[in-house]
């Protein structure tokens, strides 16, 4: 695939700066997509840990009925912050900003993204948004307590710092748009010779589809949020029912972004899965075109299902069954992907390394999340389960069990390439197992509680939920332990891990053709692509290259 010879003595991107500075400024002012990807990695991981800690505090509060460690207002602000941090600061930018930045240009044989300086700008816009969230915690009025959906009319009436917090979300949206524009342009303009659209790795396809959703969906949340701020500042009346406005309109505008945003979160993860499974099964992916096209199909159909969040908020019956039907249709391309992944493993020679184990855990958790999505997509069952713990369990299975586990899988899959070192396998595998156990204890109990009628976002609960709440809280500790072991192992390996070669897993996409860590401009000579992306017959040639 790559005919540029691997030169071992070449300086890697840690040693060579893209600008005239050295030291910290060579990172803060860099335009190198790999360095920017790593800066995102550190920043986003930090916010992930903050979100996890908030989650654990909430679980601790709920271990027994009544007040345990905090009062009700604190609980309200904590679940709002948990949502805002996890959604806007971790899971939406997570995979595209870190791994998309780092690997999308390499996988299509480019030296950088199309707009390197814009790339740096979008990192700083992200940081600015994060700082605004932070500031909003300490201004008079107190942290926002509306829930991450900012539903009107409460978000207009609340005396907390709603405006500042949602302006932060607006700024973060800007960063998301800039990243999306950068990726679409990069894919269209900078593919290496021979890299046709249908020779692109599936992670590139998924990131490309995601970038389109980022471009098309994010401006709508931008204007919606802006209107809420204007509403709070001037009392314009656009959403305020007291002045003739329509709160349901707010919900439509909110979900027409926030539902496609769910696919911003999950599509890149699906792309990573499509990279990892062929590599560890040593087999070409089953149904390459079907997987590529299903990414686009999800991006498209995902646009038409937003109102399934609003089945109980007062729409016409016709609207409700149409949106219910469309919701079922979006399950088809997701199903296509899952079946293709499983079919790829059939008769493969599977090498169950840590990234592969994370993917296995993903397939189980994501399938549970997806199937319960159908329960919620059905009108009759949704009316029963709406705004209960069942919904909380469902979206944690999809978001955390889906994108979250794949975030870890990607970290373990690309760790040797990004840092040039291996991690220790035993603790890494133990972390996967603990994660799986803790995760199911934490969230599966919520399906049961939701079915029994426990509403979401409540500070207190009836005694019959006590046992399940306890199991759930204990699960959160096991989950936290798993994350601690995983991160500890990775951080320790940054310095002490054994050196990794250019291709520790036997992968064949372009990033495995270059040294680990990659040299500053990725390729000495832009490669000419001749093979299909998952053609493992080239492994022998690759051995001769190095």
């Amino acid at each position: 695939m790559a005919n540029g010879a691997v030169a071992i003595e070449e300086k890697n991107f840690y040693q060579q700066s893209t600008n005239k500075y050295s030291g910290i400024l060579s990172w803060l002012l860099t335009t190198d997509h790999k360095r920017i990807g790593l800066m995102y990695l550190y920043t986003i991981s930090f916010f992930f840990i903050v979100g996890v800690i908030i989650g654990i505090l909430m679980r601790l509060e709920l271990i027994a009925p009544g007040k345990t460690i905090m009062d009700a207002q604190t609980y309200n602000t904590l679940f709002t912050l948990h949502g805002v941090i996890m959604i806007f600061l971790f899971i939406v930018p997570g995979l595209p900003a870190i791994f998309g930045n780092f690997f999308l240009p390499i996988q299509i044989g480019a030296r950088d993204v199309a707009f390197p300086r814009l790339n740096l700008l979008s990192y700083y816009v992200y940081v600015a948004g994060a700082i605004l969230v932070f500031i909003s915690l300490f201004l008079p009025g107190g942290p926002i307590d509306t829930g991450w959906t900012f539903y009107i009319p409460y978000s207009v009436r609340s005396s907390t710092n709603v405006s500042m917090a949602i302006f932060a979300a607006f700024v973060l949206g800007f960063s998301s748009i800039l990243t999306g524009i950068n990726f679409v342009t990069t894919v269209h303009r900078l593919r290496a010779p021979g890299m046709t659209f249908f020779k692109m790795p599936l992670f590139v396809w998924a990131t490309y589809a995601t970038a389109w959703i980022q471009i098309i969906a994010t401006p709508v949340i931008g204007i919606t949020i802006l209107l809420v701020i204007i509403e709070r500042a001037f009392g314009v009346g656009i959403f305020d029912p007291a002045l003739g406005g329509d709160p349901i309109l707010y919900q439509h505008l909110f979900w027409i972004y926030s539902h496609p945003a769910v696919y911003i979160m999950i599509l890149p993860a699906m792309g990573v899965v499509s990279e990892i499974i062929p590599t560890f099964a040593r087999r070409t992916i089953f149904g390459y075109k079907a997987i590529a096209m299903s990414s686009l199909a999800i991006a498209f159909v995902g646009y038409l299902v937003w109102a399934h969040h609003m089945f109980t908020s007062g729409m016409s019956d016709t609207a409700r069954w149409i949106f219910s039907l469309l919701t079922f249709i979006v399950a088809l391309p997701s199903g296509v992907k899952v079946f293709n992944w499983v079919a790829t493993m059939y008769k493969g020679s599977i090498d169950p390394q840590t990234p592969f184990l994370w993917v296995m855990s993903f397939i189980v958790l994501f399938s549970i999340g997806g199937l319960t999505g159908l329960v919620l997509g059905s009108l009759a069952t949704d009316v029963h389960l709406h705004d209960t713990y069942f919904v909380v369990a469902h979206f944690h299975y999809v978001m955390f069990g889906g994108t979250g586990t794949i975030f870890f899988a990607a970290l373990h899959y690309w760790f040797p390439k990004m840092f040039g070192r291996m991690y220790f396998k035993k603790p890494a595998n133990i972390a996967v197992l603990l994660f799986f156990i803790g995760f199911n204890m934490l969230y599966f109990t919520k399906f049961i509680m939701g079915y029994m009628g426990m509403p979401r976002r409540y500070y207190d609960y009836l005694p019959q939920f006590a046992t399940l709440q306890e199991i759930s809280t204990v699960g959160s500790w096991i989950l936290a332990l798993a994350i601690f072991i995983m991160l500890g192992n990775l951080i320790y390996s940054l310095r002490k891990g054994p050196k990794a070669g250019p291709n520790p897993w036997g992968g064949v996409t372009l990033e495995w053709h270059i040294p680990s860590p990659p040299p500053m401009e990725n390729f000495k000579e832009i490669p000419t692509v001749t093979h299909e992306p998952y053609d493992f017959s080239q492994l022998k040639e690759m051995k001769n290259e190095s």
Binding site: G180, I181, L190, G222, L226, I238, G244, D246
Partner: protein, 213 residues
Amino acid sequence: MNHNSVAGNENNHTAAHVHRDDVGAKLGMWLFLFTEVLLFGGMFLAYAVYRYQYPDQFRIAAMELNTGIGTLNTVILLTSSLTVALSIAAIQKKNKFLSILMLSLTVVFALMFMVNKYFEWMAKIDHGIFPGSEELLGRPNGQILFFGLYYVMTGLHGLHVFIGVIVLLFMLYFLIKNDITPDNYTKLENAGLYWHLVDLIWIFLFPLFYLIQ
């Protein structure tokens, strides 16, 4: 075709960080403009919903707007779109002076637009018509919404005009400094595209607020 151009582009340059891709730059700009259209799209949607809900009150409220000033501003903005296009054409034809002149004229038109807008808003505010005012709150809901949308939509459009002026001034600076040259004018073209969008959005705002009565 795409491939040849990519390959050709890569062969000419050794480093991605100094590379120049005019087609890519314009593609990026179009994608950004797309997001701007969607941003305003949300407000047009809100307008459509409430116009449908309160057709009579929207009609009554619209009669209070000054169609004369609106028309004048439309003419000004359309002309400014012409001058920015002429500025691009001039630099393509290697006439730097004319390009600078036309771009400066565009800025002047933009400022005229904002001055008109200022007087128009001030007149309304003097009559006590602004969000949250006693005068407005005393009126029926449809009129509150009409004027609310009027201020928000023309206000956000005005903000875009303001940003446009800053962008155009930067372009003027680049032109004078010879950063924009007859063979490298994509920056100016992109600024022009942005300015056309500002004009285009006004073309929709004008009839919705001033003409439908």
